[in-house]
Symmetry: C2
Subunit: 256 residues, 2 copies
């Protein structure tokens, strides 16, 4: 059994592959889902890239991100058509042969009756040599893992199912804790105090997100960090500041 | 007056700056909007990156993307708080001084009455030396341009207004045309024919996007390119193929 290292910062990148995202035709839903999923198990999404279905672009992004992050997740480009080139690109990035994975082939043969077992569908059994499969309980065709790169489908329902399959293998570090104070004042009126509190709590990450609610300006202030006691202390300072200025506040259930 | 070059391919990247996107707290809405906006004027979004509020990450991404693309657009990090570091990072990327832009300062002073004219709000007048302003008709604090890098707000309403202000300055090339055929067959059943048509129309980009509608599998096939006559020819081949196989089809109004 693997134990999460509760003090280490574990990082991840998401590489979204597909012309349809860059053209605006498809709105990506995987980024926020993956961010929240990883956050809960102590893995921090630190970078996202979206690249087109161009092999050299995918190879470059995979090679940059896998050396920079603990985990890389990719979505998209593992279907049966000519524009599904992720497996070939990942093989190239790792300088491995692209092979037909025997177990993936077996699963596809078991699932598709002969008349639906097209050559194109069997292409979905291709992985870089030595890859491990990621189970796909939705539509059989698996994802795969090479070293720290996790190749998943782009269809959100399938991607989410693959993440569930992967979960026991992902080893997180310190889980980011947070508290959110909603403040009924403009961001510019809060900025000086926030900067001072941030200065006193350098290990925390204090973010401020302005909003308008019924034409009243407000700011959501999110205090994130590894240590809940420090977060509580910064939160108390923030509340005290608002009280001293007569600014209305409300704590919000904080999700991220 | 500038005239679009109707044969050149003009490219762009979007750099989304902000921890709130990477934590999943805020779902980005600027990518699909920008993609569609640029597509209509003949600028192709070719890459997107999301980076945290860390100066070195922003500097690296700006410098990579500005040399790779005709246009770079950034969103986020130009507000009044300590975590708004985009202007400073862009100045560093271009090795320019960060200055208080006189015209930006004038606008902020005119807008904010003295009691609301905080030092933090005046920080929103900072730009790299020699930057040109992007007007902000929503909330005054401007974006700015340095060479091919266009720095905009992250709040979608403001970002969209800034894009409208920028529009007369953006010089596109060939506008991507497209037609979409919805096919009531699985992607794997269409893949071989699609690959063959793609092979005969190498200058086009044929994408296929599977869906389920009332439990029936289908595939949206989008044919994109610069030349409508070639798109029509490929579309006709696709329709003929479907008719020969008795596959139900329907043309869909194609937006991207």
């Amino acid at each position: 059994m693997t134990i999460a290292n509760e003090t280490k910062r574990v990082t991840a990148a998401l590489l979204i592959i597909g012309n349809e995202i860059l053209s605006g035709r498809t709105v990506d839903a995987n980024l926020p889902y993956l961010a929240a999923f990883l956050g809960k198990i102590g893995i921090r999404l630190m970078e996202v890239r979206v690249v087109p279905d161009i092999e050299a672009e995918i190879v470059d992004a995979v090679n940059t991100l896998r050396h920079k992050m603990d985990y890389v997740f990719t979505t998209g480009g593992i279907g049966p058509t000519h524009d599904d080139i992720t497996a070939a690109a990942v093989a190239k990035a790792f300088e491995r042969e692209l092979i037909r994975h025997p177990e993936a082939e077996r699963r596809l043969i078991a699932f598709y009756p002969p008349e639906r077992r097209t050559e194109a569908r069997m292409k979905m059994a291709e992985t870089p040599e030595g890859a491990e499969l990621i189970d796909n309980p939705v539509s059989v065709a698996p994802g795969f893992i090479v070293e720290n790169v996790h190749v998943m489908a782009g269809v959100p329902k399938i991607m989410q199912a693959m993440l569930d399959m992967l979960k026991p293998r992902l080893i997180g570090g310190a889980v980011v804790q947070s508290r959110t104070l909603v403040v009924f004042a403009g961001e510019g009126d809060m900025a000086a105090a926030l900067g001072q509190i941030q200065g006193r709590f350098a290990e925390l990450d204090i973010g401020s997100y302005p909003f308008f609610r019924m034409d009243k300006p407000g700011t959501s202030i999110v205090i994130r960090g590894d240590d809940m006691a420090r977060i509580d202390a910064a939160f108390a300072e923030l509340e005290a500041y608002c009280a001293s200025k007569g600014v209305e506040t409300r704590e919000e259930l904080s999700l991220a």
